[in-house]
């Protein structure tokens, strides 16, 4: 199979993050499966930005280290990228010192001269580059220009189209790159980011309220939902801080609305007390957590999966929480949808974990379907108009540890939702009997949730030399690496808590297990050890802020022999 990679790079402010995704979409519309991976520093001007597209006539999942075609909009690219002999590099070589001796296939495009001769501003440099790239890869120019039309405001549209056309004219036939023909299978696929899939899963589930404070890489959930709020009748709030973000969502959920908040680790630190409040008041709540490296501010625009144990142990004392760890667009969409049902049915906090790689990269998957999607709001008290001012036993078990909710305004449904331990009506209680009864009842839910959450799933051949164990986004590079070798298979955990660990133990036994995670200690491996007694000694861990590149996994598997 041929997988081709194209990368565009330049200083922040050069339009890399609009040109990259647009070109990825052009490729998809030309019939390829596409993956797009952005890298950028946490600054607005300067610094090196790049967007790396991987495409093929077969499904692609993840990013390679290798780059076949590199578009270098500025010198900074040559300082940051390793240029190899086989690479095609598109750049204004006449104007970039130090590139004379580079051994690569140079496509010399005089960006500076083109801009000057045609009196075009610097900002269309990226469009010239897209024109060149389209020509070299044989992309139909109409596909590209339609995308320009969809993305650029009318007043700059013509300028960008003419820039792209000028770029195309500079391409000679010998510059063309041999690519497999596009495959119409992918034309109807979606090309979207993980955060968009989360947002759409929530909208589909009837989200009513989303409140949070911006924090990369979760912010784009906020941005996308804010765009949709009037269309779908949702309230989206950028609050004064994360504390307010989670507490407002709890208030909305208490009032009877499906509510969600989303953040990254630093924001979750502030929300921690609120998670406990949702737990003890048994207020349904969905929390999307997009992980990034580092405690405190860490590396805002990079990726890591190191908050699993934080989430599993979040807040003081012990309580039931659901932790979902989806690994692709479909899982993000359907599991976020289901997160609302789980939250309503069991009245516990539900986490949807993602990370920068999954949240902000573009993935290509078949359209989400309605099939089998059902809304479950759990037990809700209908009211009793005969006795409207009666208190209601809100915290009395109805089934499986689960009590019945009553929305404010419901006659005869009066109750108190307290952060304190409480009796059936929600009045503060501290006697030992009540405390034990409540803890026992609330933990009873775990047995039933366990039966609903997915067990780790095996991908690849049934038997293999190495069985990787992963969670969340690491599924993507493993899926891609599976295309190159059959020496490994892997288990992907799309949910971690609460699941049936006895069954997990059966699945994992007698295998040559290797934990593969982007964190320093191997957090899932440690949870597995705690829950099953299976100690996974071999770990392949990465914590440099980058996802696993496909070649790295193949290398590792080879070394393992």
């Amino acid at each position: 199979m041929s997988v081709i990679t194209w990368k565009i790079g330049g200083p922040a402010g050069f339009g890399i993050m609009s040109a990259g995704p647009m070109f990825a979409m052009a490729l998809k519309r030309s019939g390829y499966s596409v993956h797009g991976y952005p890298e950028y520093p946490s600054i607005i001007r300067g610094g090196y930005n790049n967007y790396h597209v991987t495409f093929s006539d077969k499904p692609v999942f993840s990013v390679y280290n290798r780059c076949d075609i590199l578009v270098a909009l500025d010198k900074v690219v040559f300082d940051s990228e390793t240029i190899t002999k086989n690479m095609i590099v598109i750049a204004d070589f006449d104007n970039i010192k130090g590139t004379e001796d580079l051994e690569c296939k140079k496509v010399n495009i005089p960006f500076k001269k083109i801009l000057k001769d045609n009196e075009l501003p610097d900002i269309v440099k990226n469009s010239i580059a897209l024109g060149v790239s389209a020509k070299i890869l044989g992309i139909d120019e109409e596909i590209l220009f339609t995308l320009f039309k969809e993305n650029y405001p009318a007043k700059v549209l013509d300028m960008n189209i003419s820039a792209a056309k000028i770029g195309m004219e500079f391409c000679l036939d010998e510059m063309k790159f041999k690519v497999p023909k596009g495959n119409s299978n992918f034309k109807d696929n979606l090309l979207m980011t993980g955060n968009e899939a989360i947002a759409l899963g929530a909208v589909k589930a009837g989200l009513g309220f989303y409140s949070t404070y911006p924090m990369t890489p979760a912010s784009s959930i906020l941005h996308y939902l804010a765009k949709l709020e009037e269309k779908y009748g949702i309230i989206v709030k950028h609050t004064e801080d994360e504390i307010s973000g989670i507490i407002m969502a709890i208030g909305a959920s208490y009032a009877g609305v499906r509510a969600m908040t989303g953040t990254s680790g630093g924001g979750l630190s502030l929300m921690t007390e609120g998670v406990g409040l949702a737990a003890i008041t048994e207020t349904p709540l969905v929390i999307a957590l997009s992980q990034r490296p580092g405690p405190a501010t860490g590396m805002p625009t990079w990726t890591e999966q190191a908050d699993l144990k934080f989430v599993l142990n979040i807040s003081q004392d012990e309580f039931v929480k659901i932790v979902l760890t989806p690994g692709d667009l479909n899982e993000l969409f359907y599991m976020t949808f289901e997160a609302f049902n789980l939250a309503d049915r069991y009245q516990v906090p539900v986490f949807v974990l993602t990370d920068k790689f999954l949240s902000e990269s573009h993935f290509c998957e078949a359209i989400f379907s309605d099939n089998g999607l059902k809304i479950d709001r759990g037990f809700i008290f209908e009211g009793n108009s005969e006795a409207p001012m009666e208190f209601f036993p809100r915290y009395k078990e109805v089934e499986n540890g689960i009590p019945m909710k009553s929305n404010p305004g419901t006659p005869g449904g009066l109750y108190k939702a307290p952060g304190n331990e409480h009796d059936e009506f929600g009045f503060v209680a501290t006697d030992s009997r009540t405390r034990i009864k409540n803890q026992d009842r609330r933990f009873k839910k775990e047995e039933f949730i366990k039966k609903e959450l997915p067990l780790p799933r095996l991908y690849g051949a049934k038997e293999a030399e190495i069985t990787f164990v992963c969670w969340g986004s690491t599924k993507q590079p493993l899926m891609e690496a599976l295309k190159h070798t059959d020496k490994f298979n892997f288990f992907h955990f799309s949910a971690v808590n609460p699941i049936d660990w006895e069954k997990v133990k059966e699945l994992l036994k007698d295998k040559n297990l290797v934990a593969i995670e982007t964190n320093y200690t191997g957090q899932l491996a440690s949870v597995i050890a705690e829950k099953t007694g299976i100690v996974i000694k071999d770990k392949y861990l990465k914590y440099d802020g980058r996802p696993f590149f496909v070649e790295e996994i193949i290398e590792f598997v080879k070394r393992g022999n």
Binding site: R29, K204, I247, G251, Y254, A255, F368, G409, G412, F427
Partner: protein, 282 residues
């Protein structure tokens, strides 16, 4: 319904003589006078002696975390703007922990009534200085005397753009009840700072202390004048009670086109058609 009907049946555990009793009675009286049904009221309480109000009202209630009353109120009110939301918290709760939320609730002009039981001390944690404690006062946490300048919460509110700023007093229950009624009827954020003697730990700010200093604003006072209000708020010897500043302003929920036709609760949790959105990703 009569004021008594708003009793939850739980006997308050406030110290005998605590100013919180009067606030409790004033709230019940206000709800009864306004003929609001308890099923349409949500009382949101903070943490502290003030927060115990939750237990004593026959209404819906949410007992949130320390300092986090107003974000809960915002979520509740935007989800169901037909509900009457009454918020109770202390000066430590609202001006210490929750001061950020206080300012932002003012900016939003959410239609809730915010009652701060201002006893100038932390009651429940047995008598530490609060943000409104005067300089020099010795407390458990300031045995050498407070050296921080006290916060003037009404001035903070006015400067943040509050359009209903009032002061009540536990020693004047009828007056306080009328203020709370005005607050509930006000279409926006009605903020009432209530002088509430803590008879156990707040010995300085006693009934005698207040009785000597308070006076009620009468009809000659123009509460629509911002400068008048500022002057009242900074008075040193005397303490004015009543509506100090009031003005009409767009109420928060009304600024949401999503809430024009119905409350949010009625549209949430239904399967939505998102095909049109999905098309954009093709």
């Amino acid at each position: 319904m009569k004021a008594m009907d708003f009793n939850s049946g739980k006997i308050p555990v406030w110290c005998p003589g605590c100013g919180n009793f009067a606030i409790w009675n004033a709230i019940k009286g206000a709800l009864a006078d306004l003929e609001i049904n308890g099923k349409d009221v949500v009382n949101i309480s903070g943490i502290g002696c003030s927060g115990k109000m939750l237990n004593h009202l026959r209404t819906y209630g949410f007992h949130t975390l320390h300092g986090r009353t107003l974000p809960v109120a915002t979520g509740v009110k935007l989800s169901n703007h037909k509900l009457t939301v009454v918020v109770n918290g202390g000066d430590g709760d609202g001006y210490g922990m929750g001061v950020g939320h206080f300012i932002h609730a003012i900016r939003r002009n959410l239609d809730v009534t915010y009652l701060v039981h201002d006893n100038h001390i932390y009651g429940l944690t047995t008598g530490q200085a609060s943000p409104t404690t005067d300089r020099g006062l010795k407390s458990k946490s300031t045995p050498h005397g407070v050296i921080d300048e006290p916060l003037n919460p009404l001035a903070v509110a006015l400067n943040a753009g509050a359009t209903f700023v009032a002061r009540g007093y536990s020693g004047e229950v009828e007056h306080l009840k009328e203020l709370i009624k005005e607050g509930i009827n006000y279409n926006g954020f009605a903020y009432i700072d209530i002088l509430q003697p803590c008879v156990t730990f707040g010995k300085t700010y006693s009934y005698e202390y207040y009785d000597e200093r308070i006076y009620k604003l009468d009809e000659s006072y123009d509460f629509t004048n911002f400068d008048n209000a500022m002057e009242k708020i900074w008075e040193k010897e005397k303490i004015a009670l009543g509506i100090i500043y009031k003005k009409e302003r767009d109420e928060y929920a009304s600024l949401h086109p999503q809430l024009k036709d119905d409350i949010l609760v009625n549209s949430t949790g239904k399967l939505r058609d998102i095909l049109e959105e999905l098309e954009k990703f093709k």
